[in-house]
């Protein structure tokens, strides 16, 4: 059984405008798939729709995680099944420290796993996991006591997104433009962290405009997304080709011109 199966997925805004116009994708555990596309191609819409954002409607098709459809589930239930979205623009929650938020999120997942019974993580165990993950991702300890994403720099936000990923142990991680706004050192650390999590228990879907992050998270498959569809698919070499040639060949004007 595939980890993630996307079948002929169509996503529309609530006003009916179709953004994703029929895509198919299968991700197995241990695989990294890159979805690359130009700005405005609907990559982020796809990511948000997978997570169950209320502004988007699945107009047809299906999304299955470990063989079960996600479409009828709210975002929290999708998270509880093992879906994780690293946001391009994470939201600030003033008054809630990173540490307290992490613990609440971990406990929410543990509660779901325990069939709805509270099963809070013992504090020493939480501290241990937190310390290990912060060290690996080089998250400054000082950040943990600050309010979640409140006044964080772009790089700090991204680090904390990946810190969440590391602690929540999802089945499938969707990274939405995680590389944007990162300097090269931060990118290496974060990408290294994600790569180390990919394995028998986790697959990843890396959504990006640039090939840069793929130097550090080696994709098994690359899908080029433009105009709401996959317009080209291949191995890692496709990413390199895009880096040198750009998306021109896949933009609507260019494709219509060729036809």
């Amino acid at each position: 059984m595939a980890l993630l199966e996307i079948k002929d997925l169509h996503v529309a805004l609530n006003d009916g405008t179709e953004i994703v116009k029929g895509i198919d994708l299968t991700v197995e555990s241990g695989e990294v798939h890159a979805i690359m596309g130009p700005n405005g191609s609907g990559k982020s819409t796809l990511a948000h729709a997978l997570m169950g954002h209320p502004a988007y409607r699945i107009s047809s098709g299906d999304v299955l995680l470990d063989g079960a459809s996600l479409l009828e589930l709210g975002p929290e239930e999708r998270a509880q099944r093992g879906l994780f979205l690293a946001f391009q623009y994470p939201y600030a929650i003033p008054g809630v420290t990173v540490t307290s938020f992490l613990r609440s999120a971990m406990n929410a997942l543990r509660k779901a796993r325990a069939g709805g019974e509270d099963d809070p993580i013992p504090i020493p165990e939480f501290r241990k996991q937190l310390t290990a993950a912060t060290e690996q991702l080089k998250v400054p300890r000082e950040l943990l006591g600050r309010y979640l994403n409140d006044g964080f720099s772009g790089g700090e936000k991204k680090r904390v997104e990946i810190l969440q990923l590391a602690l929540l142990h999802p089945r499938l991680a969707v990274l939405d433009e995680t590389d944007s706004g990162l300097d090269i050192d931060a990118l290496k650390t974060i990408a290294g962290g994600v790569s180390s999590l990919v394995g028998p228990d986790m697959g990843a879907l890396v959504i990006t405009h640039y090939q840069r992050i793929l130097n550090y998270i080696r994709p098994d498959y690359v899908h080029v997304f433009a105009g709401g569809r996959f317009v080209a698919e291949g191995g890692p070499e496709l990413a390199e080709q895009l880096e040198s040639e750009g998306y021109d060949a896949y933009l609507p004007e260019a494709t219509s011109g060729e036809r």
Partner: protein, 469 residues
């Protein structure tokens, strides 16, 4: 009537501390207020004549004073149906073991013994109208700190009480201050000698435990030069099918260089009118801090005030109000700058949901000659749904050009994007909303003693459950 019953059952579902045990009051003045009731209360307490005279004067003033109409709706208060005095036991008990089992059971359910073990330096517990349990740790006695029920305070420290009683809040201040002065019973009396810093917060628990029972406690705190005390007052009350009135008066005097913090978590059941007059005077270089959380009651009208009467005095008010269905929290703060280089900071946060109404009503007054006075007021309102309401009535009067007054106000709603972000991490919608609300009030909760902060967050969670979906 059936509407009313439905309403009450609704309260019971949300209200964690909504229980009351059967108690046997030993003495009551019956319903309604007359001159004889006032005389009886005073006689029961064997008070000095001056106090009886003060009560009677206040009673006369209460009769002539109209019910105020500028704030919440007070028209449903039936003054004739209220018990003004109920005395549950003959005398104060000095230890837990001596408490009547009935009363002890009530307190046990509030978790007080556990709290005491961890935190309490002394407990003045108000059960109905009388302080029935009182204990001071030896350390306090050794330091010369007085922490008594107000009735005992009057008996044992009459000079101090006579010097200050009604000076900060005269009975002519407002109708409910007059009522309190006429029928007051219980409350706390605290005196901290010069230079003494009380390390542990002093705590008192209040509750109303009789139907239609009025609660009129009176608190007087005198902090002498260079001394410090933190007084914590937490209220939980059981549920009743008819309205209840709570009209307290708190007076605080902080002498030069002293500091007093007064923390209240008010969680009356949602049939209580909570009309409290709190006022403090900060003398030269003294500091007064009011931390005021209002979660319960049907209507609260409370505006903790600080009179900065000495040069360099500082006042702070941290206020949080949570208005749920059927609740109106009309809260705020007052800072009066009556001396040079005085400073004040007012931070008020309110949350309204389910048709609740929360407001900030505040006054900053800078008197002529209060050169270099500085005041900052920040009001933030969080409105959780379309039916709920938030009002801001700030009044600023400046009679001194050499002063600096700032006022900021924001109104916000919980954003769909914030909720989605938290839910994408596995939190349910109500857990996500609670987290956002707890974060919103965090600047206040972080100032509370730990157990109160925990309780406050639990109460918010409770309030938020059923508020979504």
């Amino acid at each position: 009537m059936s509407d009313h019953e439905t309403d009450v059952s609704q309260i019971g579902r949300d209200y964690k501390y909504g229980f009351h045990t059967t108690d046997k009051p030993s003495f009551s003045t019956g319903r309604g207020l007359t001159r004889e009731v006032v005389e009886t209360i005073s006689a029961q307490k064997s008070e000095p004549t001056w106090m009886l005279e003060r009560r009677l004067e206040a009673y006369e003033h209460f009769l002539t004073r109209p019910v105020p109409t500028w704030g919440g709706d007070l028209s449903q208060i039936d003054f004739d149906s209220i018990f003004y005095y109920v005395k549950p036991t003959e005398s104060e008990a000095s230890s837990w073991e001596e408490l009547p089992p009935d009363i002890k059971n009530t307190w046990d359910r509030l978790g007080i013994p556990e709290a005491e073990k961890k935190y309490l330096a002394g407990v003045g517990a108000q059960y109905e109208s009388e302080v029935v349990y009182h204990k001071l740790q030896e350390e306090l006695v050794r330091q010369g700190v007085v922490f008594l029920g107000m009735d005992v305070g009057l008996r044992e420290h009459e000079e101090i009480v006579r010097e200050h009683f009604g000076k900060i809040v005269p009975f002519r201040d407002n109708k409910f201050a007059a009522l309190n002065t006429a029928v007051w019973s219980g409350g706390s009396f605290i005196y901290v000698p010069p230079g003494v810093k009380v390390e542990m917060p002093l705590q008192a628990y209040f509750r109303i435990n009789a139907e239609n029972m009025g609660q009129f406690e009176r608190t007087l705190i005198v902090v002498d030069e260079g001394a410090f005390v933190h007084y914590v007052e937490g209220c939980t009350a059981p549920i009743y099918s008819s309205d209840s009135l709570h009209a307290a008066v708190v007076e605080i005097i902080v002498k030069p260089g002293g500091r007093c913090r007064y923390t209240t978590i008010q969680n009356w059941s949602t049939n209580v009118y909570n009309l409290v007059t709190k006022r403090a005077v900060a003398q030269k270089n003294a500091t007064v801090e009011w931390v005021d959380g209002n979660l319960g009651s049907k209507l609260t009208m409370k505006y903790p005030a600080i009179w900065l009467t000495g040069e360099g005095a500082h006042g702070e008010v941290l206020s949080i109000a949570f208005a749920g269905p059927g609740q109106h929290q009309d809260t705020g703060a007052k800072a009066v700058h009556a001396a040079p280089n005085t400073t004040s900071v007012i931070t008020a946060k309110s949350i309204s949901r389910g048709g609740g109404r929360a407001g900030y009503r505040g006054l900053v007054n800078v008197a002529s000659g209060a050169r270099g006075a500085k005041s900052k007021v920040v009001c933030d309102a969080l409105i959780l749904d379309e039916e709920s309401r938030s009002d801001t009535y700030p009044t600023i009067r400046v009679h001194e050009a050499d002063s600096n007054i700032e006022h900021e106000a924001t109104v916000s709603k919980i954003g769909e994007e914030q909720l989605f972000y938290l839910m994408s991490r596995g939190l349910s919608e109500s857990e996500a909303s609670s987290m956002i609300v707890s974060g919103f009030v965090e600047p206040i909760t972080k100032e509370l003693p730990l157990e109160y902060a925990v309780e406050m967050n639990r109460l918010i969670q409770l309030q938020m459950e059923g508020s979504v979906g």
